[in-house]
Subunit: 168 residues, 2 copies
DNA sequence: TTGTCTGCAAACACTTTGCACTTTT
DNA sequence: AAAAGTGCAAAGTGTTTGCAGACAA
């Protein structure tokens, strides 16, 4: 699994930029740095946290430069980015949702089944439990995914405008 | 969302049998108790914990009585069983996997990405964390799903070439 | 040049749906 | 008899693949 070479909460300093990391990934595998791959990485790292293939495809086509790539290429590149450790993939409601995974601390999600929004959170305790459980079963944990489903404050009708954006 | 009428760890006493519960569910909705639905529930409650639609379909056809139902009916009935609170559904590697959810305490899973096996475990602490996190975000948690991916003891022991199996 | 990559269309795996006929109530 | 269910085939989704032409290295 890809682990950031360096990360600090205060300044978010990362040794390599995502593009650099991706290019390195490609080069060490004899893969080529094409216009499409460059556009996709560029776009992804410069945008929203969570998205799916279709969204990305549409977004690319809206760019002023008319950046675009075919559907297959988008899927192929997303897979490569996951392999490169830049993105994390999760399946929600039948389709794959991607989120940044480079230079960000691990976290889990609260998923509002009403508005489909994802709220991030992290818990050290959770990680502790994960490792304890794994050890208890002679299991080697590589990763975990916790999704708490329910309804967010807004959807429940809470009038108060509480913060919806939670950065871990 | 169905909740068992009665459950005790020591003796696992449940007020209604799964079949009874399902029939009640159907009747209160003006749905009918057909031969197919009966066969499916009967088969499901009497077998393995985890399975998918295709497996069930095949298994049904192998029964001595030649119990069988069409693919659409199997899918439709599984959905009803989930609605009735008898089964829980989760998506793993692209398809839906079902597990019993009536008269069983809540639990989570360790998923071996090598042999695809699922190991159950439960943790009260986890539930505590879940509720704490939800509260912290004014979120109403309805359910959660924690899947710890990695390699089980067996697969680790089997000294084979270490290949990566990505597929979520 | 050499071999990878792209885009297109077709293929895919899993699941759902339209509809005429069958079965439960 | 009335209403709901079933099975078949076909249609959907979201994602992947075969291949010929396009393009990095």
């Amino acid at each position: 699994m890809g682990v950031p070479a360096d990360f600090s909460l205060g300044e978010a300093v990362v040794a390599m930029t995502p593009r650099e990391r991706f290019e390195e990934f490609l080069q060490t595998r004899g893969k080529r740095i094409t216009r499409q791959r460059r556009m996709i990485v560029e776009h992804v790292v410069g945008h929203h946290e969570h998205f799916d293939a279709e969204q990305l495809l549409t977004d690319l086509r809206k760019t002023p430069e008319g950046a675009q790539a075919s559907r297959p290429t988008v899927y192929r590149t997303l897979t490569e980015m996951v392999d490169a450790g830049l993105l994390k993939k999760m399946v929600l409601g039948g389709r794959s949702v991607y989120e940044h995974d480079y230079g960000y601390p691990q976290h889990d999600h609260l998923h509002c089944t009403s508005c489909q929004s994802l709220i991030e959170f992290s818990s050290d305790e959770l990680v502790r439990i994960r490792d304890a459980v794994a050890a208890q079963h002679q299991f080697r944990a590589q990763s975990h995914r916790l999704i708490i489903s329910g309804m967010c404050a807004q959807c429940r009708g809470t009038r108060s405008k509480s913060r919806h954006q939670d950065r871990v």
